[in-house]
């Protein structure tokens, strides 16, 4: 919606007669193009088309497949650790291996799966198409970004095969333990992890610049910022956050690498390690925590904002209703993004930093709940008096609302400094962040894949398999994480290889552990169903019509579906409206694509956007 929202643009009824023959330059006018059409790189060989591709759509798919492949490893690791927790008697993991799996699971899921998939995957696929561009601003750099990501993943995987194995420092990699002898993988493993992260940040910066500049510079004529789909707003803001947040991680990694290899003391105080006095002196372990969480908290929103954006679009399209409060939604995304840089130390209430910081960070953290709550209200008000199609994307979006709401509310426990004291470092935390930044965004990812699959392959995914997949994943993961909060109340600490039968823990708590593990195995196995559907539907799926969901945004309006190289044929699209004109009174169809000129829909009482 634009500032002229109050005025209504109503085509006069006497127009209706001659509208089909005469196009009216008055109401159909869009601003002139400010830049000449982009010159594209055209591939000449199989290698440059499919491997070293410079087409953002391919790069997006490459990013997505690599991320999902790595994520599957993370999934298997979670099985291994859950089996250890539920059946410690089996004794098939030693503590070292357990901690290595915990660490790799965490890092893979947060960085190499979620970040790469949302920004690298959906960002590349959707930004040019939704903005009405032919490609990213810098296709060559975009290709480099993907290959840097591949190298980062390979370095990460290589750490499984070095002496000592991968690092077992926990995904937060806190020094001093990350680089001292009591932790598994404290020599080679941690170095490879740090190098892999440095490569990831470098690669991501190349991609991120592309996303930002493409959104700012290459939008189609008429596509004002306030007409962008919320998906793009989410990905764009998340990328801006990443540009500010990742440097903190980068310097943290570099400094720790120096501490480990050259014996500097950025993070290393004078200390004893397993009986030996080390030569380090004067460093501050808490400094690393500040750097890590200055990255780490925005990172939560780097994952969450694209999910917020995508789910807004899915809810609007599949309930055939305008997104409620678009402008509030945009400002909430921007506001959450800005606030996310002022809350990082809520991960550190009991870290030993000056306790008086607690007042400041508890306040900022609870303030961020307000724009987040607005988003939830607007999602559910989008459903209100909608025309809700229970398609797969809608089911997953509903699953997102429930799990995100649950995980967001438990965030109010942990963000409120006093409440955090008994709950921090317990399973309450594990349950909270899995619900809010594991399950909720992943449900959006599934919804998004079912939604945009026809755009990529021209075919639909199987509905029945998809529904089975949805129910197992949604109910199953809720059954995993909801009861887990209560283990946290009991006081079961996280990162425990084995809890034994501690006097304060009722044996039924261990029974609950078994229940959770069985649910984990089932939910994990259900993802095979999804993969089967994903692979076979590309060949055997029902052929999709063009714009199968009757959506308004530009990615569905390309001359061919799936879109070809360059996306738009000869003419770039012109944009006349926002992407949420669903069920407009007086219009013939219940949707009006963004590039449909006003003269073709006379009679529709569209509010000006």
């Amino acid at each position: 919606m634009s500032d002229e929202y109050e005025h209504k643009l109503e085509a006069k009824s006497d127009y209706a007669g001659d509208a089909s023959s005469v196009s009216s330059p008055d109401i159909d006018s869009v601003p002139d193009a400010e830049l000449p059409d982009q010159e594209l790189y055209h591939s000449h060989s199989w290698w440059t088309t499919y491997v070293f591709s410079q087409d953002a759509k391919y790069i997006g798919i490459q990013y997505a497949l690599t991320a999902v492949g790595t994520g599957l490893l993370g999934l298997v690791l979670s099985w291994l650790m859950r089996i250890q927790l539920a059946f410690p008697g089996l004794g098939w993991l030693d503590p070292g291996a357990y901690y290595q799996f915990v660490t790799m699971h965490g890092m893979i899921m947060v960085v190499y799966l979620l970040t790469a998939l949302f920004l690298g995957g959906f960002g590349n696929l959707l930004i040019p198409l939704m903005c009405g561009a032919r490609d990213m601003a810098f296709p060559y750099v975009n290709m480099l970004s993907y290959w840097a990501f591949v190298v980062a993943v390979l370095v990460l995987l290589a750490s499984f095969f070095v002496p000592g194995g991968p690092t077992g420092a926990g995904w937060t990699l806190y020094p001093p333990q990350a680089i001292t002898a009591g932790t598994p993988g404290s020599d080679m493993g941690i170095i490879l992890m740090l190098i892999s992260l440095i490569l990831f940040v470098a690669g991501f910066t190349m991609g991120g610049l592309n996303y930002i500049i493409t959104v700012l510079q290459l939008r189609a004529r008429g596509m004002t910022l306030m007409r962008l789909p919320l998906t793009i707003w989410g990905i764009f803001t998340a990328t801006v956050l990443a540009m500010f947040a990742f440097p903190a991680l980068l310097v943290g990694c570099l400094m720790m690498t120096l501490d480990s290899l050259l014996g500097t003391s950025f993070f290393m105080p004078a200390m004893v390690s397993l009986g030996e006095t080390l030569t380090h002196e004067g460093g501050s372990p808490i400094l690393f925590q500040h750097l890590f969480w200055f990255f780490g908290h925005p990172e939560v929103y780097i994952v969450a904002l694209p999910a917020f954006g995508i789910v807004s679009d899915l809810l609007s399209v599949h309930s055939r209703k305008t997104i409620f409060g678009y402008r509030m939604m945009v400002w909430a995304i921007v506001g959450i993004g800005a606030l996310s840089f002022f809350v990082w130390a809520h991960h550190m209430y009991v870290s030993g930093m000056n306790p008086w910081f607690g007042f400041f960070f508890a306040t900022t953290t609870l303030i961020i709940a307000v724009p987040t709550a607005i988003k939830v209200y607007n999602w559910i008000l989008t459903l209100w008096r909608g025309n809700i199609q229970l398609s797969l994307p809608m089911l997953f979006s509903l699953g997102f609302i429930v799990t995100f709401l649950n995980g967001g509310l438990t965030g109010l426990f942990l963000g409120n400094v006093t409440v955090d004291v008994p709950l921090s470092d317990t399973y309450f935390v594990v349950a909270h962040f899995h619900m809010v930044m594991g399950i909720a965004p992943i449900l959006v990812i599934f919804g998004a894949i079912y939604h945009w699959y026809p755009l990529i392959t021209g075919r639909m995914m199987d509905e029945t398999l998809g529904k089975i997949h949805f129910w197992i994943t949604f109910i199953g993961s809720y059954a995993i994480y909801f009861p887990m909060h209560y283990q946290g109340f009991v006081g079961v600490p996280r990162r425990y290889f084995e809890i034994y039968d501690s006097p304060y823990i009722d044996t039924s708590t261990l029974l609950l552990n078994k229940f959770i593990t069985i649910a984990v195995l089932i939910v994990g196995a259900a993802q095979l169903l999804f993969l089967y559907n994903l692979i076979t539907s590309a060949r055997l799926g029902k052929k999709s019509e063009k714009n199968p969901w009757k959506a308004n945004s530009l990615e569905w309006q390309t001359p061919q579906m799936p879109p070809e190289h360059g996306n738009w044929g000869k003419e770039l699209p012109k944009v006349y409206r926002w992407p949420y004109d669903f069920s407009v009174p007086g219009a013939k169809e219940d949707y009006i694509p963004q590039n449909q000129p006003p003269s073709e829909i006379v009679g529709a009482k569209v509010e000006k956007t």
């Binding site: 200390m271 004067g282 372990p285 009991v350 409120n416």
Partner: protein, 278 residues
């Protein structure tokens, strides 16, 4: 219908689980029962929001399910509603935050009469040091740590002479006496955590962190390390026993002062020298 019903049942099931769950916190054994109260308050406010929103979603899915002859309402914005919701949320959030900050203020303000106890953490175990008769803990430096001086006390600091060294995995506390834990680690991060006490604070090499509490009931409690500290993390347990005065005095009398320990070590050294001479 099935979808709406499922969301409804998940919500109802969550409430039922909450009230009938056998898994709940342990009976509090310190003055931090008000932390439990803040949790209860948070439960009521967030629980209400959770139930209201889930029911609303379930209702929408049931009531407004797809019908091709019907059009959705066209209503891009409703400024009044949006600002009302924003203010209601802000008030709810403030209601959560204010009591939280009040309790936090108590948590970080140590009473003057608190008895100081040093908790000494290492990979992977606990030791303790009590201030002795003068009520002051002697100064320490990590470079003096050796077999004869396991706490690294600075010998020149006379305040340390009468410090009681508890080189065992067991600490006794006197009931109803406020105690300030001065938390010290010689290697990596640790966290001194007794579930029944509720309190928690990381121990960071290079600095001394702290928190305080007043034990309010006698008992034998397990100490757990709550900050990941390497492969022995899960096994880093200890015991804290809260005693009535009589039992506490008995235990305290058995502990050895730093001065006595030095003398004993001296004797041992002399003995060894004698042996060598022979």
């Amino acid at each position: 219908m099935i979808v709406a019903l499922s969301i409804f049942l998940i919500t109802v099931g969550s409430i039922a689980f909450h009230f009938w769950s056998p898994w709940w916190w342990t009976e509090v054994a310190s003055n931090w029962g008000n932390m439990d109260d803040t949790i209860i308050l948070t439960f009521w406010i967030t629980g209400f929001v959770f139930v209201a929103i889930c029911f609303f979603v379930a209702y929408c899915v049931w009531k407004f399910s797809y019908n091709k002859d019907r059009r959705a309402e066209y209503k891009p914005e409703d400024k009044k509603l949006e600002s009302r919701l924003t203010w209601a949320t802000a008030i709810g959030v403030a209601a959560l935050l204010a009591p939280g900050l009040v309790v936090w203020n108590q948590y970080v303000t140590v009473p003057d009469n608190a008895y100081k106890v040093e908790v000494f953490a290492y990979q992977w175990g606990w030791k303790y040091r009590l201030p002795g008769d003068d009520g002051i803990l002697g100064k320490t430096d990590i470079k003096y740590i050796n077999d004869d001086n396991p706490f690294g006390l600075i010998i020149e600091d006379t305040n340390g002479k009468d410090d009681l060294l508890v080189d065992a995995q067991e600490l006794h506390l006197l009931i109803d006496r406020p105690v300030k834990f001065e938390l010290r680690t010689i290697d990596v991060l640790h966290n001194f955590y007794v579930p029944q006490f509720r309190g928690k604070m990381d121990m960071v090499p290079g600095i001394v962190t702290y928190y305080w509490l007043t034990p309010t009931r006698t008992g034998d409690f397990e100490v757990l390390c709550a900050e990941y500290c390497g492969s022995g993390h899960y096994a880093m347990r200890g015991r804290v026993i809260v005693d009535e005065e009589q039992d506490y005095k008995k235990w305290e009398a058995k502990q050895i002062t730093f001065e006595k320990m030095l003398a004993k070590n001296q004797k041992n050294d002399n003995l060894q020298l004698v042996k060598k001479d022979k």
